[in-house]
């Protein structure tokens, strides 16, 4: 283990004054900060594991990570969700080598110990050679101590004393509830994830998802293209470099949103099909309720889960200078095929591996990592909208679309967790 950076060093990295909110570039740099982020953030708070639809049936499993620790999420025979360390309790071989699947049991490839999907040890080949009194009961696969779900989103925590999931979600809960309403009374099913990687720090992607200041620049090429191809995307305010409509929000729990203040749907869907869906929403939630549900909204649940209208994006830290992103298109169970095909192509064409938007963001992240080599460059500034945002009694801060309100919420939370007692 690396030596821990003391609280005063961490605290100084996020410098908040009345006229300036700045973050030390050291907070993005090097293996020491990264190791501490794993310990103090990824192993202390709730981390997203999967969507319930990925492990719908008993025996379903998915291999994933909490921080850099390999974890298997499973559906047990009895229907419960388990999160297990992907390490055999015999001599530590990796138990599960698949990304996902369904099985009755995990059989270790090394010496054949077998475990139920709940983690329970069920077989040791030739177990007569173990000594009298050998304890099998502590040889089950190790569990992640806490697992909980909200709105189909499954989280795990290595911290047995972690706060209740709903307390952790705080201000993000209402946005999850709104997002769920898009299913018009049904449920989401996630499709296979689009995956991309970049040689850069994970926080570059975290800060980017609710950055309403960058689209007119990084994505100008995409917007100009969309403008040339009439009807490919609707409702875009494509003429202003900096969008004037919409909001950003930051919450004391570290979460934040970017809300366009209008739907940002793509074209190419049969108007009758779209109308039927919209009518269904109006019947369920009323005229205003339906409009609110359809408003484009993306939010980050601290530290690394992003929810968009059409997809769930998981930001997976691999190392201080390496990140992977898994973007899962969200299908609505039972919706018209055209609605789902449209959601699929939207998530794919915009923000998939070959997205007309995301590939350009990724290039900026690699550039950001490159700039970190200049250690003489000490601070970046996140002051946009500071002091101009509305601060609500519960600590929610509301800014305009291009403000850096959600990024500041992220860094306040980052500082609090990183400087907390181990």
């Amino acid at each position: 283990m690396n030596a821990r950076l003391p609280p005063h060093t961490i605290t100084k990295m996020v410098d908040e004054q009345a006229h300036e909110f700045r973050v030390a570039t050291a907070a993005y740099r090097g293996p020491e900060v990264f190791a501490q982020e794993m310990e103090q953030i990824f192993y202390k708070t709730w981390i997203y594991l999967c969507h319930e639809s990925e492990i719908a049936k008993p025996g379903d499993f998915k291999s994933t990570q909490i921080g850099t620790r390999p974890v298997i999420v499973t559906r047990g025979r009895e229907g419960g969700i388990h999160a297990l360390l992907n390490a055999c309790t015999h001599r530590g071989a990796t138990i599960c080598r698949e990304e996902k699947g369904n099985t009755r049991a995990f059989v270790c490839p090394y010496h054949g110990w077998s475990f139920r999907t709940s983690g329970e040890l069920i077989g040791i080949p030739d177990d007569a050679r173990y000594p009298e009194g050998f304890n099998k009961s502590d040889k089950n696969l190790k569990s992640v101590p806490r697992v909980a779900a909200y709105g189909g989103l499954v989280f795990g925590s290595f911290n047995p004393d972690v706060e209740p999931l709903e307390t952790f979600l705080g201000g993000a809960k209402q946005h999850i509830d709104l997002w769920l309403k898009r299913t018009a009374g049904s449920t989401y099913r996630v499709a296979t994830s689009h995956k991309y990687g970049f040689d850069g720090n994970w926080k570059f992607q975290a800060e980017n998802v609710y950055d309403g200041y960058h689209p007119g620049f990084v994505h100008r090429s995409a917007f100009n293209t969309v403008r040339k191809f009439e009807g490919s995307f609707e409702n875009r305010e494509l003429h202003a470099a900096v969008r004037q409509q919409g909001y950003t929000r930051g919450y004391p729990e570290g979460h934040g949103t970017l809300e366009a203040g209008a739907p940002l749907e793509s074209g190419g869907i049969d108007p009758a099909v779209r109308d039927a869906y919209n009518t269904q929403l109006k019947t369920l939630y009323g005229e205003d309720g339906a409009a609110e549900v359809l408003t484009n909204r993306q939010f980050l649940i601290f530290p690394n889960l992003t929810i968009f209208d059409f997809n769930i994006r998981v930001i997976q830290p691999i190392a201080h200078d390496r990140t992977e992103v898994y973007s899962y298109p969200l299908m609505i169970d039972g919706a018209h095929d055209e609605i789902n095909a449209n959601r699929m192509l939207d998530a794919q064409t915009r923000v998939g591996t070959a997205g007309i938007l995301s590939a350009d963001d990724i290039d900026v992240f690699a550039g950001g990592q490159n700039a970190l080599r200049t250690e003489a460059f000490e601070w970046i500034t996140l002051s946009r909208g500071l002091g101009k945002e509305e601060v609500k009694p519960d600590g929610e801060r509301v800014g305009v679309y291009s403000d850096e309100a959600p990024q500041r919420a992220f860094w306040r939370k980052w500082r609090a967790l990183m400087a907390a007692a181990a």
Partner: protein, 161 residues
């Protein structure tokens, strides 16, 4: 005699390598589909792909790269396509299918010392085509590129495969 579809395959590779993307797009029929699957056995409208484009979305990609100066192609990619194991099957006088192996090598230009640039990336894959004779010319109606690395994270694809 060289099959005209073989010439089409080589011409496509050349146009892509030479960044003549408008001419490349003209090799495709109006009803063309261009598919880079993650699961090549799945329905691309129900399961995720890396790319599943119709002619319109392909034209948008060409526009974004050629005339809109997209960030991730600035500086741009240099590519080399090695095409081999070509196997062409005539279906009827107007239709043929083809399979071939592709080894695409890509290098971004610019300041090679910087993160994201200066790396040589390989994209090996199996390609399938369905070609149509439109008038006197053979065009591509369906193209599928099954990348070997399709199930893993790939750096953002900002150029055409």
């Amino acid at each position: 005699m060289i099959h005209p579809v073989q010439k089409l395959i080589l011409r496509e590779a050349q146009l892509l390598d030479d960044m003549q993307l408008d001419d490349w797009l003209a090799l495709y029929t109006d009803d063309a589909t261009y598919w880079v699957p993650i699961d090549e056995t799945a329905d691309p409208l129900k399961e995720s792909s890396i790319i599943y484009d119709n002619r319109l979305r392909l034209a948008m990609r060409v526009e974004q790269i050629m005339r809109q100066n997209r960030v991730a192609q600035n500086p741009g990619s240099n590519t080399l396509r090695m095409v081999s194991n070509i196997d062409i099957e005539d279906i009827d006088a107007q239709t043929a299918s083809a399979r071939f192996a592709l080894l695409l090598t890509e290098v971004r230009s610019g300041d090679w010392r910087q993160k994201g640039l200066g790396e040589t990336r390989l994209f090996p894959g199996h390609c399938k085509l369905v070609c149509k004779k439109v008038g006197d010319t053979w065009k591509i109606q369906q193209k599928t590129i099954v990348l070997l690395s399709r199930k893993q994270p790939i750096v953002g694809l900002s150029f055409l495969l």
